[in-house]
Amino acid sequence: MIYSSELIKGTLKTIILKLLADNKRMYGYEITQKVKELTSEKIQITEGALYPTLHALEDAGLVTTEAEYIGKRVRKYYKLSKSGQTKAKEKVSELADFMETMKFLLDLKPQQI
């Protein structure tokens, strides 16, 4: 099963921030591959969603980039800034909390009030 893009959209920022928090620096293709690998291909990040989000994160000062030449082309590595590290923790715990609430809301965990 591959999740719908609506579901991915709301969590993409969190996914990227968390991945960058766990790996020192990553380039775009690497991020998509890593997500695919970690989720056994259940989550596939599209290029059309990944790059706009990366650029928005960069604009917000949460990630910084380092450019490196690979032969003729430039590879841009993305890494978390100081505020990005804090934000990553915030986003992850927010999503975790959200998932708990969703479990309860969707009646998947009726024992808890």
Partner: protein, 387 residues
């Protein structure tokens, strides 16, 4: 693993550009991404072009440009919220500051001027332009954009004209009239005729139009017509000149009286000094107001007229006017003290006059300087009559 040649990389790069991706950093991202996919997934003897077009096709729904559009949307969206926040904050802040300024003004507390100016400047140069930039994006139709533009320009001009009026800066009237002109002649017709066509907005449009015309009408009825202003200035100037004439004639007569007496007398030094200073101050005011130290005989044809506006700005601390006025006040005070014992002496008032800077308008300042001259002269006549 497929080894990409430099030509192939150039080819991909050009193709990405040709598909409408203009941001360089996004081009670099996409180029590297496609290259990675090709290198990883295409066999060494595979068909490069075919594989490339299949790969790039997976990046978008309709066209590759979407990625850039989405990026730009996210980037401006962030600004949008920041701008909205600044707009609301500056709007609330400027109105509070302006209201506080007005309260301070009525209570005669210090700082009223600064508050009012800051309030108006923030309102017209930060809040209104931001409001415009944010709202204009929401409007689709050219007509709506026009209504918004005309409305905001008119509002900015109007509030700046109030500021200029308060600060006695030139151009206030032109701005005010342009603001009302734009409002009535450009904004209103388009707004009205757009609004009444739509059943939903019909009543609202009519009511708002009536309110705008009524407000503009009330405002204009407070404004003096330019012709009438000239007429009033002529009257004021003639009035001032008549007083000057009376004063000079009296002074000449007193001089003659003193000189032709059996035991000739001289005007005391202090009186002469006060007189001279008053004359100098009047010249100073005239110079600042009309550009002439004395009004020429043909002042009417040359349109060199006095205007009854504020002259206090020429008497702020450190100006020549303020120094002279201070000197005059000192002279008058010693003059009053020295002569207080003289029978029939009328002291020259200082409190709530030009001397303590209570009077601030051109005409009343000129008027009072003449009155001081007349008073010291009458005191001399009094001495003369008693001897």
């Amino acid at each position: 693993m497929y080894p990409l040649s430099e030509e192939q990389i150039d080819f991909i790069c050009r193709d990405i550009q040709a598909r409408g991706v203009e941001m360089e950093s996004l081009q670099q991202d996409l180029l590297d991404h496609v290259c990675c996919i090709i290198e990883q997934n295409l066999e060494a003897n595979g068909n490069f072009e075919e594989f490339y077009f299949q790969t790039i096709r997976r990046f978008y729904k309709n066209e590759l440009k979407e990625i850039e559009e989405e990026t730009l949307f996210l980037l401006t969206h962030k600004n949008y919220y920041a701008m909205k926040k600044i707009m609301l904050t500056s709007g609330a802040f400027s109105t509070i500051v302006l209201s506080a300024g007005i309260l301070f003004k009525f209570m005669h507390w210090p700082g009223a001027g600064v508050l009012i100016v800051a309030g108006i400047v923030l309102f017209s140069l930060l809040f209104l332009p931001l409001l415009f930039t944010l709202k204009v994006r929401e409007k689709q139709e050219i007509r709506d954009k026009f209504i918004l533009t005309a409305g905001v320009i008119s509002a900015i001009l109007f509030s700046l004209s109030t500021l200029f009026k308060l600060q006695h800066w030139p151009g206030a009237n032109i701005m005010g009239v342009s603001a009302i002109g734009i409002m009535i002649l450009l904004f209103l017709p388009v707004y009205f005729f757009t609004g009444i066509r739509n059943a939903e907005t019909k009543v609202n449009s009519i009511v708002t139009s009536i309110l705008i015309i009524a407000a503009a009408g009330l405002l204009m009825s407070l404004v003096r017509s330019p012709g009438n202003s000239t007429f009033i200035n002529q009257l004021d100037t003639a009035y001032f000149l008549r007083n000057e004439q009376l004063l000079q004639t009296e002074q000449k007569q007193l001089q003659t009286l003193l000189e032709t007496r059996k035991n000739a007398m001289e005007i005391p030094a202090k009186t002469a000094q006060i007189n001279l200073l008053c004359q100098e101050l009047k010249s100073y005011i005239l110079l600042k107001q009309t550009g002439h130290q004395t009004l020429p005989a043909d002042y009417e044809t040359k349109q060199i007229l006095l205007t009854d506006n504020w002259s206090r700005d020429h008497f702020t601390e450190g100006t020549e006017g303020a120094e002279k006025l201070q000197e005059l006040r000192g002279l008058v005070e010693t003059y009053n003290a020295e002569n207080s014992k003289t029978a029939g002496f009328q002291p020259v008032p200082v409190k709530a006059t030009i001397l303590d800077q209570s009077e601030e308008r051109t005409l009343s300042m000129l008027q009072h300087l003449t009155q001081i001259q007349l008073q010291v002269m009458q005191n001399e006549q009094n001495v003369l009559a008693r001897n």
